[in-house]
Each structure stands twice: as structure tokens, then as C-alpha cells.
Symmetry: C2
Subunit: 314 residues, 2 copies
């Protein structure tokens, strides 16, 4: 669905600010509590919570993260799910979210309604109240940025740091071809899996895959080590290639390091009991530069998604 | 300073994503803690805190909230201060902030550096660590959206709801002409004042003034009452008019309702002891429709700032 309308009467600007905000409340429905615990005051009030809190922010932008082929409901859901995926990667569970929307005056009301209804349905599903927001106008753009706050689901927060040479490398699900297959908006954030993994002491470091395995894995790699991946071990999406798995991005799967001393067989058995329907694949190990086995993937060839590739102006 | 450059070599896209993120860390300096308590992991970790939490989000957008006449350092500071003003209005104090930036590939590095340095200086001043962020590209835009989390500074959170007919209406500072005078980016958020006011039981409802008194006051007005303002009582910025005070917006002052039973003289004396340099003005009362005194301001003539006034397309 194309988000812009040629008819002023169908646009968000025809509605005016006050009516638009009233409409947004209606579209969000029970996904947005009443002020001061939701939209409508200077700040939203969140109930007290124990333990350390987590916070993350990620946008969806027209022409970058979605286009006319993605249903607007799916765009709203994708916005929340992208952030939930970041939370899953730390073993967290969501508390609440706020939304900052920047959009052209010519965006169609219908498109925006579907966007909010998709966001609301997803928010209800994952029990994430949308407690606040801001809406501003800027020409030629639709950008929605969501900030998600959460808490650690257990005692432990797993970060990207902590892997050591010798550790096993695992990924959930399948990789590659996310754009082509629609996975980039149909995916399920690995919240339950992330919370479970954070409870396993053998899991030393974890992150979610958004920019492609080759690029993201750099952040997980311990200093002085390198990731040794066997090309045949990568779990490919049907019809996918190793290059797609390494470079496409938007997989929204978890990648983590399992301590070398852990028994992989026992760990995988426990995983299958907990998540019989989520694939888990050992794709390699972190090794010291001298200990690199033959036939491993040369990751330097894959650069992953670049967030600022500008049009050259000179 | 004009934020765009014609020379690719001077643009953010010439820097590339990795170097840009490294530069942002450098520009933020001590305003951004190390991961996982700052930028660099899937989420940022916030330390545990007691009590109810507050959250708010507000942007600055090129062409809307700033233009070439506003120094980029001031743009960065304004972004944080706008959000601090919302927090002040609930009597809160800040904990941390995350920043979502959407910008054209042709934005100049110099401009962006000054923006971040201004944000960082302001963040250090108000002790608000910038713990996370996201940077994305979109053509022809500079939009920065900041989400601020905080806590109640005392036992009480003051909301916009709670005023009654008979209550006195007060404002801090002076109003009007914010754009012309540069107040819209030079203002000081009323954090200490807001925290003090939240401790006074006579203060029943409060908000910050961003869209002009006439429009904002509607949110504070109790059902079945109306605000009776005497035009001579409004504290005007030098050279300002009543119309400017009511309609300009971007005042970032506090407006609040003081319970009718409170002695205004004693209250104002206590205020002057606490804030000898911040002006406080009683500008009127909330009255029942029959009890409206003569000569009051007709607020229906002033509409305040409209956030979605679109260019008509048909």
C-alpha cells in the first residue's frame, strides 16, 4: 500500500492535530493506557519495577525498512518487533514503549490507521503498553522511531562481550534472503529463547542479527580471536546462499557464544526440550589466529548492511 | 550554520558508519558511559532505581525546531532541554536518554560534531547520560528524537489533571516572542522549580508551556470550568504582546493550578525564598462559566502551535 495520498481530504493534515491524536488513541485502543500511565501528559508514568532496566531505540523509515509492498499493519508490527529482538538479545522482557513519528502532511489516514492498528495488535500480543509519543511533520518522509524499555528477565543480562577463543558459536533459526522472503517483517522476536539463554551459565555473549552475520559477528568476537565458520554449517533459508546468510541482514535471529567447557550435546538436548520448534545450529567456534581449521568462511569479503551509504555529491 | 555540505568529503556519508559511530562516541565523551551502560550493545543497561519512573519523547527537526540561524551546539542542547522541560512539569529528575537520529547523507560532519558536542555538554550539566541511540539515513532531513527516562523527585508526581474551579493559575518566567528572541533554544528547563512545586500540596496540576498558553491551558482546565486570565497580568518578554504570550509557543515555562484554599501570599513568599531569580506570576483563576469576571482574555481567538499544518495538495 502506497502511504501517500493525492487527495488532501484523505491526508493526515486534513484531520488536524487534535483529531489526529484522538484517532491515534482510538487506533491504539487498549494498547495505550490512560494518562498519566499512557499518552496525554508531559511524561508517562511507569510503575516501579525491581532490578536493572534495559532500553533500546530503533526506527522504521519509508524507503529503508519498508516500501509499498509491505502492508502498513506489518510496518507497525515490525517497528516493535525490531526493538523486541534487541531486548531478546540481552535476555530481557518488555515494560513499555514510546513512539516518535515524523511524517509528511500528505500521508494517507488509511495508511496511518493500519500502521497504528498493526502496532497495537503487536503491542497487545507481547504485552507492551505504548505509553507515549510525539508526532511531527517533515516533508517527504515517514519515519517512526520506537524506544523500548524493559527489565532483565532473570538475574543475568547477557551482553555482546564475554566470548573467549574456543567457544562454540550458535545461531537460532535460518539466515539470508530476509527481504526477498518477507521475513524482515514476518519474523518472531526470540524473546523466550533469549530469556532462556540468559539463564544458561554456558552462554557467555549474545546479540541479535540485524546487519548480516559477517558484520554482526565482529562485535561478538573476543579480542585476538577470529570466528571460524564452516560454510556447510550455516542454516540457510530455502533457496538461500551462504553469501545471503552472511551479508543480507534483517535476520532478527540470535547469535551467541557457548563456553568451550560446555557439552554441546547436552546443551542442544536441553534446547530442543525448551524450544522444539526453533532451530538451533552450531555454526563454528572462535579460534586463535594460529588454530584456524581449513575451509572456513572468509568473512572479510562480506560487509553487511551499511547504515550510511550516501549518494555521492561530488 | 547550514547543516548540509556540497563537498562529499566533508559529509557524514564520506565517513562511513563505523567511523561515524566512533566519532559520535568521541564527541559525546563522558556524557556516554561504556557499554552495557551506554552505547554499544543491543540495549543499554540502566541501574535499578526506586519508585515510579517517567518517560517522555520529543524531537528537533530541521525547518521546524531549528534553522541555519541556530548554532548546532544549541540544537543539541535544545533537544535535551525540551525533554527536561516535560520532566520538570511532572516534578521529575532525569535518569538517562537515548537518541534516534535520521539524517541526509549530505549533512556536514562539522555540523553534526557541534550538535553532539552541544548535546554532550548539556547532558553533563544536567547529569543525564546518553546511553543509546540509532542513526539512520533519509533524504533531505535532519530529525533527532530523544527519549528521556527519569524518576519522581519526591513522593508525588503532578499531572495535568486535578485543577478545580476557583484554583489560582500561575506561570514561571516570561512568555511570548520565543522564536524572535532565541529563547526557544536558550531557555533553562525548570527542573528545580518543578521538583519544588511537586512537593507543595497546594499545587494540584502542572504542565510545561510548549504550544502557547491559550492552547496548553485547555489541558489544565477542569471540566465545566474555564480559565479567567486578566490581560494585564501576563508576564511578557520585553517588547512582547499579549497575543504573542498566548499563541507563540516554545516558552518552556511551567503553568500550574494552586488550590483555592491556599494563601497565595504565603505561597509566593516561600517561592521567592526558594527561587529568588525565577519570576512567578499569578495570571488568573479557573472559574465556573457563570462566575467569569469582566475584562478577561478571550482565549478562543488563539489557537497556539499546530503540529500538523500540511501544505494543501488539492
Amino acid at each position: 500500500m502506497h502511504p501517500f495520498t493525492r487527495h488532501h481530504a484523505d491526508s493526515v493534515s486534513a484531520l488536524g492535530e487534535e483529531k489526529l491524536i484522538a484517532a491515534i488513541r482510538r487506533w491504539l485502543g487498549s494498547a495505550s493506557p490512560r494518562a498519566p500511565f499512557g499518552i496525554g501528559d508531559d511524561c508517562a508514568v511507569l510503575p516501579a519495577a525491581r532490578g536493572r532496566r534495559l532500553i533500546t531505540v530503533d526506527p522504521v523509515i519509508y524507503g529503508r525498512h519498508f516500501d509499498d509492498t509491505v502492508p502498513p499493519r506489518a510496518v507497525g508490527a515490525k517497528l516493535l518487533k525490531r526493538n523486541l529482538s534487541d531486548l531478546a538479545a540481552m535476555g530481557g522482557r518488555p515494560t513499555a514503549a514510546v513512539l516518535a513519528l515524523t511524517l509528511d502532511a500528505g500521508v494517507s489516514r488509511k495508511w496511518l490507521e493500519q500502521f497504528y492498528r498493526g502496532l497495537a495488535a503487536c503491542a497487545r500480543h507481547y504485552r507492551v503498553p505504548i505509553v507515549g509519543g510525539d508526532i511531527a511533520q517533515a516533508d517527504g518522509i515517514i519515519a517512526a522511531s520506537l524506544t523500548l524499555v524493559g527489565t532483565a528477565s532473570g538475574r543475568r543480562i547477557v551482553t555482546r562481550t564475554g566470548a573467549r577463543a574456543g567457544d562454540w558459536i550458535y545461531v537460532t533459526g535460518r539466515l539470508g534472503g530476509s527481504l526477498r522472503s518477507g521475513h524482515h517483517y514476518r519474523f518472531t522476536p526470540r524473546l523466550a529463547e533469549g530469556a532462556w539463554l540468559a539463564r544458561q551459565t554456558g552462554v557467555r555473549a549474545m546479540m541479535d542479527l540485524s546487519d548480516g552475520l559477517a558484520k554482526d559477528l565482529r562485535a561478538l568476537t573476543p579480542p585476538g580471536a577470529l570466528p571460524a565458520l564452516l560454510p556447510g554449517s550455516l542454516p540457510l533459508r530455502p533457496g538461500g546462499t551462504v553469501a545471503a546468510a552472511l551479508g543480507d541482514g534483517e535476520d532478527y535471529e540470535l547469535v551467541f557464544a557457548l563456553a568451550a567447557r560446555t557439552d554441546p550435546t547436552g546443551f542442544e538436548r536441553a534446547w530442543r526440550r525448551a524450544f522444539p520448534r526453533t532451530r538451533l545450529t552450531q555454526i563454528g567456534r572462535f579460534v586463535s589466529p594460529g588454530n584456524s581449521p581449513p575451509g572456513i568462511v572468509n568473512l572479510t569479503k562480506f560487509h553487511g548492511y551499511e547504515h550510511l551509504k550516501g549518494s555521492r555529491r561530488s
